[in-house]
Symmetry: C2
């Protein structure tokens, strides 16, 4: 199925199921509303899945990995080779996302969508569109055709996971330089000054941050992406893994599967999807809000209320994996708690 | 072992292990400090356990249940019978804490330390000191002997769990009326005006809240507890489950086991323990901060930085169970992630 067919399939969430869930939660053996945010999550899950017994397992984290030509401008604290090295680490099982998905009882899929190295690793999903993007400071990151192909990789990866039973997809990414490209995408898509969007990434210093801002400003001036055309923005100043994540969001929303957003980069990808079709935003659950200043901006634009505030700034899907047991808790509260009637517990006055 | 022997055994956390953990975390394949609060938790676990490979499983939530004579004053949204009914619900497995401990891969122990009913339920730990406390508006909740006995129940329950292998204990409670008694304890122990401490509990209205404040002020005037004597405060305006939780904190701290604090009531119990011996506070991990205004006050007094802010106000150990997978994630990050050297990943510039 092509992108536009998938976009056309995306419907709004099920408001009747949300209402039924809210009523169900009020019958459970607890003071009204006393599970706070967990109850809001249960209502959102009902809307997304159309069920008052929403299931989120098996949950799958999909990590899209790609390189960025803009690293030639010295915008990152790590050399570009680290992208490939970390993909190897993911496959070996030694990275944070491996540990955190084990703790969260989820599985993780690693997709090479554009790493600048020849990778033949067991279990790696090889869907390389090209070996990294071009340097956005000098011209477009990639062609529109490449951006579409990357989105389609995301869509088919999501589709495969869903066919294999996945009931929740979480977004993850790896790509040295991708806070730079994500910041560029957000600055244009959200019409926000570049200085407000840019942060310290994986740990750059102040002078590198100044250079990063200048590089993004140059990239925007050189490429002149159309603020109203998400695909044009993706191709000109985005990245292959960002485009792949956009495809995952669209495919999951079309399948009425919740999408657990991770950090700044995946949230920018979710924003691109929401600009293509605003209904997609209804399928997003925000896992956390990082210290990257752009993350707060993009969460606000998406009306995402993050579950965690833990000063994370790693990516990989790490924040999504950390928040996953809380999303699971919301689904299990709805499915497994006894009602006042079932448990023979006296109802409250229900005054509040 | 008696209370004073246990208190004497409590040592400060292992600062060398904390330092070693901080160094270890900086060798793992992630940007420096990029796991934020998770890294702080790992360092705290190292200090508590004295190990850079801290283990928190099996984790056990201990729910202490008791009744409060002060419910005669109409301070709660629920009738007092709900305490016994909810204990039955815990044993049957239909309450929030049952669901949330299953999600968190923990077990739960339910202790009748003072429910005002004859309960014979399979799996219930029956350690009833007395059938509820007396009404604090008219005189002391209980004798000092009862308060000591309740603390000893907490100590022995914790000790049994630790003997059975528990590596983390989480605090839970059930007792209609216990936000009232906890508020009284906090007002005296923290020297805070009653109006600032009292909230809407499980869902009372404004006029009930005014009555609740007046009842606590009366209880303090009638009983005149000594602000410098935690045991006197516990006996005069506290509760049996609160005293039991104090015992758990002390026993766990003596055994160098982390204590995951739940909501307002369990945090007040932790504060009582910390007033008996300030070193006990080093073993506390704050799971969340509820909307109950006193919870923020007591967390500040304990220098607890809560992991979650989810507008919870249920108790039972529910917030502790929700936060448990995050504490587990901190321990597993320390134990399972690869170092830069192991994974052949290029180190960052480590400038920040």
């Amino acid at each position: 199925m092509g992108i536009f067919e998938v976009v056309e399939r995306i419907q709004g969430v099920d408001v009747a199921a949300q209402k039924a869930m809210a009523e169900h939660l009020n019958c459970l053996t607890k003071p009204l509303g006393s599970l706070g945010r967990l109850e809001e999550l249960a209502i959102q899950l009902a809307g997304i899945t159309g069920s008052t017994s929403p299931v989120i397992d098996p949950a799958v984290v999909i990590v899209m990995a790609a390189d960025h030509g803009v690293t030639a401008e010295g915008v990152s604290a790590f050399p570009a080779e680290v992208t490939a090295q970390m993909v190897n680490n993911f496959i070996t099982g030694g990275a944070a996302i491996n540990v955190l998905t084990r703790v969260a009882q989820a599985s993780v899929k690693i997709v090479d969508i554009g790493v600048n190295a020849d990778l033949e690793l067991p279990g790696l999903i090889s869907r390389k569109i090209r070996r990294g993007t071009d340097n956005i400071a000098n011209g477009p990151a990639m062609t529109v055709e490449d951006a579409v192909a990357a989105m389609e990789v995301g869509m088919s990866t999501a589709s495969d996971a869903i066919d294999q039973g996945a009931k929740l997809l979480a977004l993850g990414e790896m790509g040295i330089g991708n806070t730079t490209t994500s910041s560029a995408v957000l600055a244009i898509l959200g019409q926000v000054p570049v200085e407000q969007v840019v942060g310290f990434g994986t740990g750059i210093d102040s002078s590198t941050k100044k250079r990063k801002i200048a590089v993004i400003q140059k990239a925007i001036a050189v490429n002149r992406p159309d603020p109203l055309d998400p695909l044009d923005i993706l191709a000109k100043v985005g990245g292959l893994e960002i485009a792949g994540l956009v495809g995952i969001v669209l495919q999951a929303a079309a399948a009425r599967i919740p999408v657990l957003v991770d950090g700044f980069i995946s949230a920018v990808a979710a924003l691109v999807a929401a600009k293509m079709t605003p209904l997609a935003a209804q399928y997003l659950i925000g896992s956390h809000e990082s210290v990257e200043p752009g993350h707060r901006i993009v969460n606000n634009l998406l009306a995402i209320q993050p579950i965690l505030q833990m000063n994370l700034r790693l990516g990989e899907g790490s924040g999504a994996a950390l928040a996953l047991p809380i999303v699971r808790a919301a689904s299990c509260i709805a499915r497994e708690m006894a009602t006042f009637a079932q448990a023979n517990v006296a109802d409250s006055l229900k005054k509040l």
